[in-house]
């Protein structure tokens, strides 16, 4: 007898004539074309609940898989960066979007993940600490160590909220940066930096070979992109499931009104702590992947700007949506690349400091404007715009 089984006595329903969970054979003609008729909670709870969605999702994944074979080096780098930022964005979205705890310290946890991976899988012969282990050990640890640090920090964070929490996490960021700078054994010291983890996964050196399978050429960059993409898909599904589980509902309850959530029996302390730990773990993996992509790590890299980049992903993409985080990451990562391409066509836009305005400035202005626009007009971000469009046509020809 499951926990949620409703006892017939309470509902007044007959025990003798009880057909709960009874299933019969029906012709396919009865099933077809009736997407909102549910005969089990499993189907009504399915993540991808309609055939149309299944088809589109499949096409999207196929498209993502085909990208490395159709794009040049610069673009492939951008796409890899996109998947990594998306992982970081999903992590922050769990904390900020779902649990409603603002955090500016996300870059610190990314840094922590990067250093963990670098220490565990770094080349022992180089300038800083390194044990030369496999990525199969380093990547999980890059999630676990920041997760544990998140657990340690969480008790402080659970005591405050709103602006104070933002300041607290900002402080965390600065402390972290200071530690990274001064602990030169770990980081190579301020201004120097260190090499990142070696690309050895399951004993295979990913940098060594280029594979060819049929018409597809798997260069090391392509392989790395595919690894990041796989991780993104896995972590996105995990996050989506967390979000719609009991834990996710508790997050949302805390976000909407923490006192009400507590009255309903949600353990505030536990919930907030879990949100911090989970978010930090996601950040750790993203940080590790990012450092491996770049190859070197400097302590200054994990600063406020990176935190704000991730924040922009969440806000522009859509607060409390997993797909939104991916859309946001695409926007934040690809916009600069596109702008740089545009400099060829727009005379007053330049790559360097000459001209009226340069790419970096324009990008900053655009992000700032968009964050303001989305926060004030559509808090669900780009994804929210999509939802609006979809609902407009879903209700067609009515309005509700």
């Amino acid at each position: 007898m499951s926990e949620f089984e409703i006892k017939p006595g309470l509902t007044g329903a007959s025990k003798q004539l009880n057909f709960e969970n009874s299933k019969g054979v029906v012709r396919s003609a009865i099933k077809r074309g009736r997407p909102t008729l549910y005969t089990s909670y499993e189907t009504s709870m399915q993540m991808v609940n309609t055939n149309t969605k299944k088809v589109w999702l499949g096409l999207l994944i196929l498209f993502a898989l085909s990208l490395p074979f159709t794009s040049s080096g610069g673009w492939l780098h951008a796409f890899t960066l996109l998947t990594i930022y998306a992982i970081a964005g999903i992590g922050l979205n769990l904390l900020m979007g779902y649990a409603g705890q603002i955090s500016l310290g996300h870059a610190f946890f990314m840094g922590l993940g990067a250093y963990t991976a670098a220490v565990v899988a770094g080349d022992p012969a180089r300038n800083a600490l390194g044990f030369g282990l496999d990525l199969a050990i380093a990547l999980p640890l890059a999630a676990i160590i920041p997760g544990i640090v998140g657990l340690i920090v969480a008790p402080l964070a659970t005591r405050v909220r709103g602006l104070y929490l933002a300041v607290l996490t900002l402080g965390l960021l600065f402390i972290g940066e200071q530690v990274f700078k001064t602990w030169s054994g770990l980081s190579g010291g301020a201004g120097n930096g260190r090499y990142s983890a070696q690309r050895i996964l399951f004993g295979i050196d990913l940098n060594a070979n280029t594979y060819a399978v049929g018409p597809f050429i798997f260069t090391p960059e392509v392989v790395y992109y595919l690894i990041c993409l796989t991780l993104l898909i896995a972590l996105a599904i995990l996050a989506k499931n967390i979000a719609r589980s009991k834990v996710g509902r508790a997050f949302a309850a805390v976000r909407d009104r923490d006192i009400a959530a507590e009255v309903m029996g949600v353990n505030l302390y536990k919930t907030k702590t879990l949100a911090f730990a989970l978010s930090s773990a996601y950040a750790g993996i993203a940080g590790a992947l990012l450092s491996i992509l770049i190859g070197t790590i400097t302590p200054e890299q994990w600063n406020l700007f990176m935190s704000i980049d991730i924040l922009a992903i969440v806000v522009i993409g859509g607060v409390a949506t997993i797909s939104g985080s991916i859309i946001g990451a695409a926007f934040v990562v690809l916009l600069p690349v596109i702008l740089r391409e545009l400099t060829q066509f727009i005379p007053w836009l330049s790559v360097s400091s000459g001209g009226l305005i340069n790419v970096f400035q324009l990008q900053t202005i655009l992000f700032g404007t968009l964050i303001v626009v989305f926060v004030t007009i559509e808090s669900r971000g780009l994804f929210g715009l999509w939802i609006r469009i979809r609902n407009y046509f879903k209700a067609w020809p009515f309005s509700y």
């Binding site: 007044g12 009736r34 005969t39 089990s40 020809p397 509700y400």
Partner: protein, 643 residues
């Protein structure tokens, strides 16, 4: 498909076709056993529980019916006894029905909104021994009349909520009923078999009380033969739906089950051809249930069709401009499509097909999907005349909607419009294995088929007036032939108005024209032995309220809204428009607003929402006198001689 035999018969009997031999009487209790043996795991019924549609298989259906039968047997129900049930549509209704059928007892359906006085009358008149009451509300009513009903021995309730501290020696739950059978229903199978051996087709299978628009309801006795015939006509190839129904058909059960058509579809037809019947959660959720179930065949009364049309009007009024724009395109296309179809016996000609194809992706498909009519292959309107405008609206949406005609007394089998032979304004052609003729004197419609009832329960006089010596049923409706073999119903004989000037006027035509407006829910034409026609009009609260809020008219209650000068003006315009379509003697000169919604409990409507015309007129003498005395004390308008 249909043949006219007018030339063969001097009194011009129109005969329905006989594409194949009329099936012999099938006993539904045996059919249930057969289905359960052949398809034990196939779904027969579905009902919604906690958001999910739960399946009831044929095996479970039979088992449940037997459980109920065993319990009823222990309570003393024997051949010829009556079991009453007062409940909304739910699977237990069917278990009680089939359970009684196993015992050769007859089921009597009471309507959940029946007030206590009617319950008392129905229980006394039917002499039911056991009453199955749905919930606390119905149990309360039953207990109030228990002592007045000498035949009533037991009350069985289905839903135990709120009943745990009721202490009445004759009140038991459905579980207690089932547990009364010693050692389970299995011990009674031999007895059931024995009872089954003696079954005849003259067994009274059910008592269906007529709505009683003119007097107290009369119990129509339908035999096993009658309901088997009706079940076949409602489900076989060439029957009411034109095509045969089967396991590929999804049905929604939402009209009251004591309505003969709902029984024919949800019980009899379902048993014969194994459709999948979905029980609507409640009458309030029908729209949502329709959208979920998307039935493949649908029967609805005009009131439901009007309601759907009104819902569309309200929702479009608040939709965005773009959506309105596309809807208006769809409306224009729809008008032409409907006109083309009407001109072509209901068929799509090339032009209609092209227009439909244009409108399909932008409006028809999404609209029909939202309304739950996307998969409807054939739908019917019956039980009351439908306004032609409403019919046109749905024909324009591409819906195969046809008007049919029948009554409880002939097991709902008389005429229907077939898919390729529709004539708007008529109720269609004679159905399978049936005959229709008109009385030479007064034009009354007479029908004859195997569905003709055997008599009114305990009312031999009334029976004699209704069934002629050679088996014709007097329907009480005046009809006329249109074309070769399409029947048009003029009105109920009793309703026809003869004005002081001696003109015969059929009020229902005018009323229906008025009611086809989304703003008018009730329209009652008055004028019998009066110098001119007048009307009492009740507004459709939802649509008028919506209209009022868009026009910035403030109102509080139904009464207040109905009395607003702006609303009266709106209605005045509609009445004038209606008057244009009728002759001058048929024009409405004055009307008054009804300031309350008509209701079953207040005695104005029957259980099936039909107007009790005479009784109703007596309840509002002030309004009627106001119109003929030349005063204007009540809200309404006088339109003058020209109308």
């Amino acid at each position: 498909m249909l043949t006219t035999t007018a030339s063969l018969d001097q009194i011009s009997i129109r005969k329905g076709s006989e594409p194949f031999k009329k099936p012999a009487t099938e006993y539904f209790s045996r059919v249930l056993i057969e289905n359960a043996q052949k398809y034990p795991n196939h779904t027969a019924l579905r009902f919604k529980q906690f958001g999910l549609w739960q399946d009831i298989t044929w095996g479970a259906y039979l088992e449940s019916a037997r459980k109920v039968a065993a319990g009823l047997y222990v309570l003393g129900i024997r051949q010829g006894d009556k079991v009453a049930i007062q409940s909304e549509n739910r699977p237990e209704w069917l278990f009680a029905d089939c359970g009684s059928a196993i015992l050769r007892a007859a089921i009597v359906g009471l309507y959940p909104t029946n007030p206590i006085a009617e319950i008392r009358y129905l229980l006394q008149d039917s002499e039911a021994k056991v009453l199955i009451a749905e919930d606390q509300e119905q149990v309360d009513k039953a207990l109030a009349v228990f002592d007045d009903c000498p035949n009533l021995e037991w009350i069985v309730y289905l839903d135990a909520r709120g009943l745990h501290n009721y202490d009445h020696p004759k009140l038991i739950s459905i579980d207690e009923l089932i547990e009364k059978a010693d050692g389970g229903y299995q011990n009674y199978l031999a007895i059931f078999d024995e009872i089954d051996q003696e079954r005849t087709e003259e067994d009274i299978a059910t008592l269906i009380y007529t709505s009683g628009t003119t007097g107290p309801p009369k119990g129509v006795m339908l035999t096993a033969k009658n309901i088997s015939f009706a079940g076949h006509v409602f489900s076989v190839e060439g029957g009411v739906f034109g095509y045969g129904l089967g396991p590929n058909d999804s049905m929604l059960s939402y009209l009251p089950l004591f309505h003969v058509v709902e029984r024919a579809l949800s019980v009899w037809g379902n048993l014969l051809v194994r459709t999948v019947v979905h029980f609507a959660e409640s009458i309030e959720t029908v729209t949502q249930d329709l959208a979920e179930v998307q039935p493949s065949r649908l029967f609805a009364v005009p009131r439901i069709w009007e309601k759907i049309q009104a819902t569309v009007a309200i929702k479009i009024a608040s939709a965005s401009r773009l959506k309105k724009f596309f809807y208006n395109i769809g409306q224009r296309l729809g008008k032409t499509i409907a006109a083309e179809r009407i001109a072509n016996d209901g068929k799509f000609n090339f032009k209609a097909k092209v227009l439909y194809a244009i409108g399909y992706p932008i409006i028809f498909r999404p609209l029909r999907k939202r309304l739950g009519l996307l998969h409807v292959k054939h739908s019917l309107s019956g039980a009351a005349p439908i306004a032609p405008d409403t019919l046109r609206f749905f024909l324009g949406l591409g819906l195969p909607l046809y008007e049919a005609y029948g009554m409880t007394e002939n097991s709902a089998v008389a005429t229907t419009n077939f898919a390729d032979a529709m004539k708007i304004g008529t109720v269609g052609q004679t159905q399978l294995w049936s005959e229709i003729k008109l009385d030479e004197n007064n034009g009354e419609v007479l029908t004859r088929n195997d569905g003709t009832f055997v008599g009114y329960w305990k009312k031999p006089e009334a029976t004699k007036e209704t069934i002629t010596a050679d088996g014709w049923l007097r329907t009480g409706d005046v009809g006329e032939w249109v074309g070769d073999d399409h029947l048009r119903i003029v009105d109920r004989i009793k309703d026809i108005i003869i004005t002081a000037g001696g003109k015969n006027i059929s009020p229902s035509e005018i009323e229906n024209k008025l009611k086809s407006s989304p703003f008018i829910k009730e329209a009652v034409i008055i004028g019998d032995k009066r110098p001119y026609l007048t009307a009492l009009i009740g507004i459709e609260f939802d649509t008028v309220a919506d209209w009022a809020s868009r026009e910035h008219i403030e109102y509080t209650t139904y009464r207040d809204l109905a009395s607003k000068p702006e609303v009266i003006n709106l209605i005045k315009g509609l009445v004038k428009e209606t008057n244009k379509e009728f002759a001058r003697v048929e024009a409405i000169r004055k009307f008054r607003m009804l300031t309350k919604e008509l209701d079953h409990e207040d005695g104005e409507l029957t259980a099936t929402q039909k107007l009790k015309r005479k009784a109703f007129e007596a309840t509002v003498p002030g309004l009627v006198d106001d119109m003929y005395a030349g005063t204007s004390a009540y809200p309404g308008a006088d339109l003058g001689r020209e109308g």
